[in-house]
Symmetry: C2
C-alpha cells in the first residue's frame, strides 16, 4: 500500500526464521532491507565524509539525532538552509530519532509529565520542552524521510508498575504524535523487559496503523539474551507489511540474530565509536589495534574485507596512526567498521533471498574467534 | 642532465621575473613545478586520506618529517614494512626533510657539535644522535624520493658571528652528507638574515654539485620582507638547471612572491594547521569560520573554488561542524585549504608558461580583501 512518505515491500520471507528481505522506498532513494544505518549524531558520521558514505560505502540511509540538531544548530536554522539533506550535502535518505533517548540520557534537570518533557541543553543549560507534537514538528522542519514519535525511555531495571506507567505514557504520546503527523512516522514499542508490557504496547500501537514500528528501550543494561527476547515478544504482533526498526542495538555478531527475529532496520554507534577507540570488527573477531602484536603486521585489518581501508593500509600503519593520534586513524577505522556492518547486512539479505539464512548464521558463529 | 634519483627540466623561464616552470622526474612520478607540497608530518596529512590527496586534490608530492618518523614508529620498522610509500599506501613522490628543524624546535636537551646533534625524543625522552651521515641513512631507509642534508637551524635573531659559525657547520655537514649519499640529496642554504652569509653559503654548497638546493632557516620570526630578501640574495647563485626548494614558508598570497624569486618547490603547515583551527584561505581573503556572520550563510567557502568541499557544503554547515568539534570539519577545511594552495600554484605555473606572471601577481594583490 502506497503512502506519500514511504512505501515498504516485502520481497522474500525466510522459510526458517522470521527474517524478511524488502525494499523501503523513500523520496531520497530505495533502501534494501534489512539495513544497518550509520549514526550521524550531530549531522556527521564522525570521521567520514558524505562522499565516502555515498560512494565508497554505498550507504543509502543515515540516522541523525533530533535532540543534537535541535540544541545545535537548531531545526529552524536547518530549515532555513533548505532542510537536513541540503545542509548536510547528503542526497540519500535520513531517519531521525525522536529526541527522547538523548533527553533522558544527556540533558539535565528533566521533568516529565503526560504533556511532555522539560529539559536543559547539555551544551548551555537552556531550558527546552519536547511534546509528542513538537518533537515531530522539529523532525518535519529537518525534513527527514522517516521520523520517530517521542517516547519515554524507561530506566533499567524498572518495576513492573513503573514500566507500565511509562509504557502507557509512550502509547499516549504515540496517539498524539500520529494525530499531529502521520506520514513516515514510527511509534516506538516500550515496556522495559516485561513480555506482557511489550506485547500490550505493540498491540495498542498497531491499532494506530502507522507506516512503521520501532522497538526501543533496549541496550540499556539488560543481558543481551533479554534484548532478543523482547524483540521476539513484540515482533509477531507487528504488521507484516510495515518495516520494523530495532533501535540502537547490535554487536556485529548480533545483527543476524535481530534480523532472524523479524527486524528490518537497525542502527548502533558501536561501529563508529569503537573505531575511534581503536576497536575494529573483522570477520575473524576483534582487532584492538594498539596491541604490540600489530606493530609490524603488514596485513590488512581483515584479509577477507574489500573496504577502502583494507585495500590500501596495513595494521602496522593503522597502529602507528592510532598511537600518533592522527585524525586519519578515525577515518580509516570508521570506514572499515561501517563497511563491515554494511557488508554483514548485505550477506544476511542475500541469504534471506536465497533461503539459506540459518547456514549463514551458523557460519558466523563458527567463524568467530576472540582475537586474530 | 640525468641522474639515477631525480631529473629536473626547466620548460620555461619567465621573461619578467626569476620564475621558472619545469618538470621534476622521480621514480614515483613527474611533478610539475613550481609545486606546493602538503605536509604529512607523522606519515599523514592531518585530516585527509591518501585517496583524497591523490584523486581529489591531485597531489604529486608529499613532505614527510624525518624526525617524527624516526622517533615513531622508527625508520627501521618502516623499512621492514617495505618503505614509506608502501607503509603510507602512497604511490606518488615523497620528500623528507633532514630532521634538523624538528631536533632544534621540538626535542629537549640537545647538544650540538661539529660531529652532529644529540637530542632527546619529545615523546619518551630517549636519547638519539643525528649526524650528517645518519640523517641521510634514515631517509634512505624511509625510501623517500628527495632527501635533505642535516643542517643547523640558526636561531633568530643571531649575531653575525654566531650565524657564520652556524653556517660553516651546515656547509661542513653538507660536504659530509653528500659524501655519504648523492642521489636526490639537497643541501640547505643557511646564514640567518645576513646577505653575505647566505651568498657565501650558497656558493660553497654549489661547489658540491648537488641534485637540488634548499633554502632553509626562514620563517623563524623575521619580517616577511626579510625572508624574501634572503631568497633573492641566494637564488642567482644557484644553478639554473637544478630545482630550488624554499622550506616551510608561505601564506597563500606569498606563494607567487617566492616563485617570482626563482623558487620551484615550497611546503608549509599553514594550509593544514590553519584549516583545523577554522581559518580558511579563499581567493577573496580569509574566512574565520566560527564568526557569527557565517551562521546562516548558504554559500560555499569560496564561490570561485572547485574543491570538493566548496562543491558540496555551505559555510553554515562548516561552522556547525567546527563548533560541534566534528572530525569532518578538519577533513573538509583541510581539503579546501590544500586545494586552494595547489590551485594557486597551478595558476602561477600557467602564467609562467604564458609569460604573464606579473599580471597574475597583481591580480592576486588587488583581489585580496581582509575578510569576506
Amino acid at each position: 500500500m502506497s503512502r506519500p512518505g514511504i512505501r515498504f515491500e516485502v520481497l522474500k520471507e525466510c522459510p526458517h526464521t522470521r527474517a524478511r528481505a524488502g525494499l523501503l522506498h523513500t523520496a531520497h532513494g530505495v533502501i534494501e532491507t534489512p539495513v544497518f544505518m550509520p549514526v550521524g549524531t550531530q549531522g556527521s558520521v564522525k570521521g567520514l565524509t558524505q562522499r565516502m558514505l555515498e560512494r565508497e560505502l554505498g550507504v543509502r540511509i543515515l540516522l541523525a539525532n533530533t535532540y543534537h540538531l535541535f540544541v545545535r544548530p537548531g531545526h529552524e536554522l536547518i530549515a532555513r538552509m533548505g532542510g537536513l539533506h541540503r545542509f548536510l550535502g547528503w542526497p540519500r535518505a535520513i531517519l531521525t530519532d525522536s529526541g527522547g533517548f538523548q533527553v533522558f540520557s544527556l540533558s539535565a534537570l528533566r521533568s516529565i509529565s503526560d504533556d511532555g518533557v522539560v529539559f536543559r541543553s547539555h551544551l548551555d543549560g537552556a531550558e527546552h520542552r519536547f511534546t509528542p507534537e513538537s518533537a515531530l514538528e522539529v523532525q518535519q522542519a529537518l525534513g527527514s524521510d522517516i521520523r520517530m514519535v517521542l517516547d519515554e525511555c524507561t530506566e533499567y531495571p524498572a518495576s513492573h508498575e513503573h514500566a507500565r506507567r511509562s509504557m502507557e505514557r509512550t502509547v499516549g504520546w504515540a496517539r498524539r504524535g500520529l494525530g499531529r503527523l502521520r506520514e513516515a512516522v514510527f511509534p516506538i514499542v516500550q515496556g522495559s523487559m516485561y513480555r506482557d508490557l511489550r506485547r500490550e504496547c505493540a498491540q495498542r500501537l498497531v491499532e494506530l496503523d502507522a507506516d512503521g514500528y520501532a522497538i526501543g528501550g533496549l541496550s540499556v543494561g539488560e543481558p543481551r539474551t533479554v534484548s532478543l527476547e523482547m524483540v521476539e515478544a513484540t515482533e509477531d504482533l507487528l504488521p507484516r507489511e510495515r518495516p520494523r526498526y530495532c533501535m540502537g542495538v547490535g554487536m556485529l555478531e548480533e545483527l543476524g540474530e535481530y534480523v532472524a527475529r523479524g527486524v528490518d532496520m537497525m542502527d548502533c554507534v558501536l561501529p563508529t565509536r569503537n573505531a575511534r577507540n581503536g576497536y575494529l570488527f573483522t570477520t575473524r573477531g576483534r582487532v584492538i589495534i594498539k596491541h604490540q602484536r600489530y606493530r609490524e603486521d603488514p596485513r590488512p585489518l581483515d584479509e577477507q574485507c574489500a573496504c577502502p581501508t583494507c585495500a590500501q593500509y596495513s595494521r602496522s600503519y593503522l597502529r602507528h596512526l592510532f598511537l600518533s593520534g592522527e585524525i586519519l586513524f578515525s577515518t580509516l577505522a570508521t570506514c572499515h567498521n561501517v563497511w563491515t556492518y554494511l557488508d554483514r547486512m548485505r550477506r544476511i539479505r542475500q541469504a534471506i533471498m536465497f533461503g539459506n539464512l540459518p547456514n549463514l548464521l551458523s557460519s558466523f558463529s563458527s567463524q568467530r574467534v576472540d582475537e586474530e
